[in-house]
């Protein structure tokens, strides 16, 4: 038994539990995939599934890492650097999460659901972002003034 396990380990690269756990995961996913295969929009769903990974790993991550690298080249000391990073991240996070409203994408559906005109949200997002940067700048100025 122990020898069999050792052989599996050498060939497969991990213990039997590893294999079982992953096979169970693939069985569940495979079942869902088969079930969805009949849907008219199955390919679209798959594209969105894989597209979400590509959008994060090969677009969002490289973009924010590059922006941060550029920022670190301009601002060297951690304190002022983080007083730019924090409001920038907060602003970017809000944009990412509330993007449909900020870009006014759901307007037609909102209008027919509620009978009311959607409020344009781009201005609100810009105002919030400006507030974050302003608050961060004030906090930085206060901390420098205190240290003196």
């Amino acid at each position: 038994m122990a020898e069999r396990r050792a052989r599996l380990r050498a060939a497969y690269g991990a213990g039997p539990r590893h294999l079982l756990v992953l096979l169970a995961c693939f069985a569940a996913t495979g079942w869902v995939a088969l079930r969805l295969a009949g849907e008219a929009d199955a390919v679209r769903m798959l594209l969105w599934f894989l597209g979400a990974v590509v959008a994060h790993d090969l677009v969002l991550f490289p973009v924010y890492a590059t922006v941060d690298r550029a920022l670190r080249r301009i601002v060297h000391r951690p304190a002022p650097l983080n007083h730019v990073r924090v409001p920038a991240l907060a602003s970017a996070l809000l944009f990412l999460v509330y993007l449909p409203g900020i870009l006014g994408l759901g307007g037609t559906t909102y209008r027919s659901a509620t009978g009311r005109e959607p409020t344009p949200l781009l201005g609100r997002w810009l105002a919030l972002s400006a507030l974050f940067f302003l608050a961060s700048a004030v906090a930085y100025a206060v901390s420098r003034w205190r240290r003196r």
Binding site: A2, R5, R9, A10, A11, Y12, G13, A14, G15, P16, R17, H18, V21, L22, A24, C25, F26, A28, T29, W31, V32, R35, E39, R44, M45, W48, A52, V53, A55, H56, D57, F61, P78, N82, V86, L89, A90, L93, L94, V97, Y98, L99, P100, G101, I102, L105, G106, T109, Y110, S112, A113, T114, G115, R116, P118, T119, L121, R124, W125, L128
Partner: protein, 447 residues
């Protein structure tokens, strides 16, 4: 054999079968692979930071998953009115959705949406913390690693898919063009299967990483004193770390702050009064109008194709049960005993509101046609098309003392957009099943 059966993949230098293949793969480094491996600079990236975010998600994500399932259950899958209607083996237990507490659906759905949104920065931070693994070369040294990577594709794809479809749905931007319910329901199962596998394989690693540093020490360590973690077998710690620009406590605080910011800008859509406006960037934080009918509308009469003639003086409600049929007009309903209840109405999109409804108890209407103890009730709207132009209510939902065919809200007649001449309101029932512009109710004795 030490470590056997723990599920840990082979060590860095070991190659599985067929070894020549994996070795050849390792030798053929694409241009830039070396730079990518050595290029990671952040000294806070490491097993401890990954484990902290992993532990947070391990507690919170199952809560989002469970509240999502509860919402599916609240739709009444046994009447075929939960979406997607046919889920095969993933069918949930056939239980009656309770009517008490009346805020039950308001809380499960509000929690699902609000917590789901709050976890976005935690998910992003977790992905940031492990992203060097994505650019590792060779990408695998054994079949085990290939399979594990594939399961990670399902894990990462699953959570990002759920976040993206959920966020677009609650903001009415149906860019994806497929059925939201089907995609979000099955996507959740793909994600949870991959999560169970990931946790089964990585839990010991998470626990040992959490134990490797004391939170109290981290809470005291500022940026200047922050040092990288010791090199780890998973290769998360940067081989050539740069100077710290943020402490570990700072990184965790940043992620937590992001989550709180999102929570603060989302929770308003589940609150009434001036606090609703705090959902500054969400459609349901916007002004719903004023007066007794000034609360959010989910579907206007115009969108539902309801005309003035439909709801005018000629409107009649048809009640059926036990072979009897009774037709009543609005005056006859007003002449019956009126009951007032303060009940929330909550949408699957995560927003809710509590209003004061007045009308006839559903159980009184059931008694009127001689079925005082119905097994269910089928409510039909005047609306001709539309996914929610009818709903089946369970026995407990018909018989609850606060379940109403509402004629008035906050002391005024219902507006046509809120369902005039009459709408259903049942405690803890999803908003779309509180049928508006009711045309007929069929009280059934056979379930």
């Amino acid at each position: 054999m030490p470590g056997d059966g723990t599920g840990k993949p082979a060590g860095e230098r070991e190659y599985g079968f067929p070894a020549p293949l994996w070795r050849a793969l390792a030798r053929h480094r694409p241009p830039g692979a070396g730079a990518a491996t050595r290029g990671w600079r952040s000294p806070v990236r490491g097993p401890w930071l990954t484990a902290v975010h992993g532990a947070l998600l391990l507690v919170a994500l199952p809560l989002v998953f469970l509240t999502g399932l509860l919402d599916h259950l609240a739709y009444g899958p046994r009447f075929g009115q939960a979406f997607p209607p046919d889920v095969g083996w993933l069918r949930l237990p056939q239980v009656d959705w309770p009517t008490r507490p009346s805020w039950l659906f308001r809380v499960t759905q509000g929690l699902h949406v609000t917590l789901g949104i709050m976890l976005v920065p935690v998910v992003l931070a977790k992905l940031w913390s492990v992203i060097p693994k994505l650019f590792d070369w060779p990408p695998a040294r054994s079949v085990a690693q290939v399979l594990e990577r594939l399961s990670l594709l399902l894990l990462v794809g699953g959570i990002l898919f759920e976040i993206a479809t959920g966020l677009l749905n609650i903001q009415y931007a149906y860019l994806f063009g497929f059925d939201f319910y089907t995609a979000h329901y099955f996507g959740a199962w793909v994600f949870i299967a991959a999560l169970v596998a990931h946790v089964s394989l990585k839990l010991p690693r998470m626990l040992s990483a959490l134990r490797s540093r004391r939170p109290a020490d981290e809470a005291r360590t500022g940026t200047a004193a922050t040092r990288p973690e010791p090199p780890d077998p998973d290769g998360l710690v940067a081989p050539e770390p740069g100077p710290a620009t943020v402490s570990r406590r700072g990184a965790v605080a940043l992620v937590g702050g992001g989550a709180l910011l999102l929570g603060a800008l989302t929770v308003g859509q589940s609150l009434d009064g001036p606090l609703r406006r705090t959902a500054l960037l969400l459609p349901r934080g916007q002004d719903p109008g004023s007066g007794p009918n000034g609360f959010p509308v989910n579907r206007t009469a115009a969108a539902a194709g309801i005309s003035d003639a439909d709801t005018g003086a000629g409107w009649r409600l048809t009640l059926r049960g036990g072979g009897r049929e009774v037709t009543v007009d609005r005056a006859a309903l007003h002449a019956m005993a009126q009951h007032t209840a303060r009940l929330p109405i909550a949408c699957v999109e995560g927003w809710s509101t509590r209003q004061t409804w007045t009308g006839v108890r559903l159980r009184d209407l059931a008694a009127l046609v001689g079925v005082p103890d119905p097994a269910s009730a089928h409510v039909r709207s005047l609306e001709r098309a539309g996914l929610f132009n009818q709903a089946v209510l369970q026995a407990n939902q018909v018989l609850d003392g606060d379940s109403l065919l509402a004629l008035r809200v906050n002391g005024a007649d219902l507006s046509v957009d809120h369902g005039y001449p009459a709408r259903v309101i049942v405690p803890a029932l999803p908003g779309v099943h509180c049928t508006k512009w009711v045309a007929a109710i069929d009280f059934r004795t056979d379930g």
